[in-house]
Symmetry: C2
């Protein structure tokens, strides 16, 4: 372990979403200068006390956010609309904007970029689980390929422009501030539906296995990465445990102490059948591991959903 | 070997440069419908009988070239001007234009794209030589990273859009139609300087080793790739022989039967020390191997340079 102090100033780019909201709320009491930047906020009420600048990465307000900033956490990710994804538009919206962000980081003298990558997609289907950082990277989706390409451009920026970086390959996050309206994340959306006594829809036979990590655990991993002084650049951050969709349902049933209604639909072929991350490197180098068991994480998420339900009064929010 | 017939119609995109000119001149007598597209021609006199359309990939004239076309060979590559390369501009000029080309290929019903990648840069410095196609790809330059990223996007286009593809990772080409004015390629430019009795400048101690393949050999490899019916997607195309800069000088001295003047300059650190391709897969799958020995290739290049010199009368061309 090579732990230093936290950075003096941090900018969160793409801070209005699920992970950004959690990070902003956790870091703000600990770091004096936390600046949040993004297109919009999913939970403006929660972010009221946070220093916030609205804009996209091409806008001049980005430079104001980056000026004099020590560490940048790059969380921005855009979903290109349309049922049939336009691959080149996705690259323009996600890859090119990332490179523009890195250009501005170089211009503004930012010391380090921490990039939130995707442990669930950059490795692709070929690796044996659990997957270590050294495994081959063979993404099969535009999303995974964009994440991997951004990672590789960070290496080039480090080499040619002296921009320090870390890459955090997070598995499937769940927990508070996940956007239920957009049905982000199977764990939180299933839990929300179960609380409303709605039937759950499962695509395929429910055997697809993912590594679900509770968002607070991932936030703590980010703090460890910010403090880290060692030589490793890429970290898997996950629970290290595989959970099938059917096991999620069983766990929610256990938590709520009742049977749930489940409808099975024909599966989508693009899904990787199993993804579980090997997080040994994070344990050894960062002194971090996921502490929250799945049932505990579910219970905390249920509590948050209930609070939201009370605050929002009725079903308009949890949808 | 799985050899079929040549495609009915071929479009060469970025056809005005060194390899494109060679390909166009070789393919035109064999394939009735060869369409060449590019920004400009390095050797317009040589290309007089070739069907040519000027334009960039964003222009509407591209669609006219691709319409009804069976196979597209993607050779286009843009050097972004400026001494200090802007990484994101390079990605915009080379990666994004490639994705736009692939979009148009999908729109126009093109069956197969053959992409000219870079055997000298996509592997990076970590691999042991000779390097097979299965070696890790760790490019350290923006040029190599763009080539690798285009390769990976082709996989995604094949999976999501049904666009068939092959990738040809060519080593260092030399031979006729290499642009001596731009000092493209150490072999041809050294030979041109030697013929003019000028001193050669070597950056470093001359120990850097590359795999130089004669351009006609690489053109024959492209024909074999176009005929290929098998399942492999990526082929190394090189001589399989390593030649140091000092060995190039020695070979030119042997060819010209005299000593050359050489000035050694302080070396550039970015260069990979050794690159030699393992071309066993091309031999087994395509029935291809590089036939032209280095001295023979030098002699043919010398002959071409002499002819150019006679045609162009004087030193203005060979510069």
């Amino acid at each position: 372990m090579n732990a230093g102090s936290l950075p003096r100033s941090v900018a969160l780019i793409g801070a209005g979403g699920f992970f950004g909201t959690n990070l902003a709320l956790y870091l703000s009491p600990q770091i004096e200068d936390v600046r949040c930047f993004g297109l919009s906020q999913s939970f403006p009420d929660a972010m009221r006390a946070i220093r916030w600048t609205s804009g996209d990465i091409a806008s001049s307000s980005l430079v104001e956010v980056l000026a004099g900033c020590d560490t940048v956490i790059h969380l921005a990710s855009t979903s290109v609309p349309g049922t049939d994804l336009e691959i080149s538009k996705d690259a323009e919206a996600n890859l090119m904007t990332s490179l523009h962000l890195f250009d501005r980081c170089v211009d503004c003298g930012v010391r380090q970029v921490i990039f939130i990558s995707s442990g669930g997609t950059v490795y692709g289907p070929s690796s044996r689980v659990p997957i270590a950082e050294s495994a081959p990277t063979q993404p099969i989706t535009p999303y995974g390929l964009v994440k991997l390409t951004i990672e590789r451009y960070l290496e080039v920026y480090a080499r040619l422009r002296g921009l320090d970086y870390r890459i955090v390959r997070i598995s499937n996050l769940y927990g508070p501030y996940q956007n239920i309206i957009k049905m982000q994340g199977v764990v939180t959306s299933f839990l929300a539906k179960a609380l409303r006594n709605e039937a759950l829809e499962i695509w395929g036979n429910g055997s697809i296995v993912r590594d679900y990590v509770y968002v607070e655990d991932a936030v703590e991993a980010m703090v460890a990465v910010m403090r880290y002084q060692g030589a490793k650049r890429i970290f898997n951050i996950g629970s290290g445990v595989g959970t099938s969709v059917n096991q999620i349902v069983a766990s929610i049933e256990k938590l709520l102490e009742r049977k749930l209604k489940v409808k099975y639909r024909l599966g989508r072929a693009v899904d990787v059948p199993v993804n579980i991350l090997d997080c040994t490197l994070a344990r050894n180098e960062l002194g971090w591991h996921a502490k929250t068991g799945f049932l505990t994480g579910l219970e905390k998420t249920k509590y948050w959903l209930s609070m939201q339900n009370i605050i929002c009064r009725g079903p308009s929010f949890i949808r």
